[in-house]
């Protein structure tokens, strides 16, 4: 490991988050250095998506304590669009449908916000990046997520990520509901972004995607707390043993 890698990209300190008055995250501490990919694993309903939304700044997810520091800047109180401007990206688990919004137009608008692109350069990039995720041209003429299959929605999330070229991506169960081909496509796309200046947090239930992405660290989230952190081997252990043993450990 070189020195640059040890610089923190995202630092979450003692983060507590409430949704509709109920505390979901109960003091999360997490540090993701530049160039690292971390995975968050855990059973259903333990706060994985809450963590993803809280990082992106969803107004329904109220931060009651702690802070989110991104590249040395406190983002805890920033609006979602300001976080995006800083280089943060969230790939949604359930992307919302917005009728009448043309995908090409949308991609142009959002990629222009972070990258200084003229329409020609945009076209070039779109073709190049569209190839990475295997989409055909008609895909781009459709309306934003309208009538999309689960898999198509995930592909569009990843295409948005490639076009925006963020510094930090939170991928909220991007792998769920994907067939093996799509999973590979998406993993390739994420691996393409890998560099000393890109980090990611991959939220998932399964080891499957991690085989392709090879995260540097794995954290297990149970009942609003990170109960265990390990390397890639931890994912294998979880796959064979499940989460119960950790749960017991934790409650002791």
């Amino acid at each position: 490991m070189n020195l640059i890698k040890m610089e923190p990209m995202l630092q979450i300190k003692d983060l507590r988050v409430e949704v509709d008055g109920k505390e979901i995250l109960k003091g999360i501490n997490l540090k993701v250095n530049k160039g690292e990919i971390h995975a968050i694993m855990g059973p259903n309903g333990t706060g994985k998506s809450t963590l993803a939304y809280a990082i992106a700044g969803h107004p329904k997810y109220k931060i009651t304590n702690g802070s989110i520091i991104f590249n040395g800047k406190d983002m805890t109180k920033l609006a979602p669009y300001e976080r995006a401007k800083e280089g943060l990206f969230l790939a949604f688990q359930y992307p919302t449908e917005i009728s009448g919004v043309n995908i090409s137009h949308f991609l142009y608008t959002i990629s222009k916000l972070r990258n200084n692109l003229n329409p020609l350069e945009f076209r070039k990039q779109l073709i190049e990046k569209g190839r990475i995720v295997n989409i055909d041209k008609t895909f781009l003429d459709r309306q934003l997520n309208v009538g999309f299959s689960g898999g198509e929605k995930k592909i569009l999330e990843i295409l948005q990520m490639l076009m925006i070229n963020p510094k930090f991506a939170v991928l909220d169960e991007t792998d769920s509901g994907l067939d093996i081909d799509s999973l590979q496509t998406i993993s390739n796309a994420i691996n393409q972004l890998r560099s000393d200046d890109f980090s990611a947090l991959v939220v998932t239930h399964y080891q499957r995607i991690l085989n392709f992405i090879k995260p540097d660290f794995i954290h297990v989230l149970i009942d609003g707390n990170i109960v265990k952190t390990g390397d890639f081997n931890l994912a294998k252990e979880l796959e064979s043993k499940g989460y119960t043993w950790l749960n017991q450990d934790f409650t002791k």
């Binding site: 992106a56 700044g57 969803h58 107004p59 329904k60 609006a79 979602p80 669009y81 976080r83 995006a84 401007k85 990206f89 969230l90 949604f92 992307p95 919302t96 917005i98 009728s99 009448g100 919004v101 043309n102 949308f106 608008t109 959002i110 916000l113 972070r114 309306q143 934003l144 948005q160 925006i164």
Partner: protein
Amino acid sequence: MKQQVLINENYKEKYGFADPEISVFKTGKGLNKSVVEAISNRKKEPEWMLKLRLKALEEFNKRSVPLWGGNLSDINFDEITYYFDPSDKKTQNWEELPDNIKKTFDKLGIPEAEKKFLGGVGAQYDSEVLYHKLREDLEKKGIIFLDTDTGLKEHEELFKKWFGKLVPYNDNKFAALNTACWSGGSFIYIPPGVKVDVPLQAYFRINAKNVGQFERTLIIADKNSEVTYIEGCSAPVYSSNSLHAAVVELVALEGAKIRYTTIQNWSNDVYNLVTKRAFAYKNASVEWLDANTGSRCTMKFPSVYMLEPGAKADILSIAFAGKDQHQDAGGKVLHFAPNTTSRIISKSISKDGGRTTYRGLVQVAKGATGVKTSTRCDALMLDEKSRSDTYPTMKIEEQDVNVSHEAFVGKVGEEQLFYMMSRGLKEEEAMAMIILGFISEFTRELPMEYALEFNRLMQINMEGAIG
């Protein structure tokens, strides 16, 4: 409060500025027999038209203001000037218009649009059409595109055959009012088989205070001809009321196709009460594209009477109502013949306490078998204060028909906004994109220049949508 000011300021700057009032002839306030006679006399009309006007005046006086629909109780008919002629000069050359008027139309971009992509333009200012011109090559094809007064003078027989046949003088109170004091509007005739591939446009500008504009439009598309007509309108921002009561009649003879597009952009003190009706004969098709923004209250329900087999109707309307505005709009399709098809799509947006109403009629007469008709109305409310209602009426007297109706009322969801904001869009940018998406079914039907202009107009309307 600040937001409201901003919207008015923006409208004011772009459309809502006023020229000093000039008139070479106007009638006194209020409406009576001598006013109607003065209008007719000034126009040197045939006797039958004066008689019709006077009959219509009686009808207007007899009927009360409708109690359904928008609240019209604030209209003071005695305070309105019913005829206001700003210039003696009617011309085919923009340069010959009085300076102020020329500047107004320049600012509204009409001469520029004419140069770029229009086949003909009529520009009405208060009661009279001051500029009117049809491209020479189109004139040579036998197309008639005149202001309605000239239409009556030069083509009386054709005029008389259809004028008031679709919308009789006693159809409703405001049709009666229009028939009594109509002035200006467009008269169009497309000869058999002629397809006009560039739009013809009319622009209606109200400038004087408390004035009524009563243009009358008649379009006759002969067998297998095609025409696209676009009308735009705007007015200065005053704090007193103006009245716009137009009548539009479209005749699509066998195999003909008419597309009639309205981009209404009245200032918020105009009452806009318009009767629009089309007859579609064998295999003819009529499309109404109707955008209603601005005005204090609009009541307008474009209709298509499908009189012979194979006729088609398409009504696509959108409405936007902000503070103190009520858009009571919709469409009517009447199937009187077998194998006729129709579609109504209505989209409405209300905000800041504005109110939108969809009012529609689907009628299928006995014997009109094989009819297909669908209606969809989508309403979007941007806050708790705003309101949206739907009044669909169906009169189906035939068994062998295919009728569908869908309605949706909703709000812009928090999840939609967050999704867009997480991509770097500010809340108002996200909102604007969602709204423009919502109305895109309409805008994508417009010529590109109009679509862009209309999206800008909607953005002006949307400014301050975020609390």
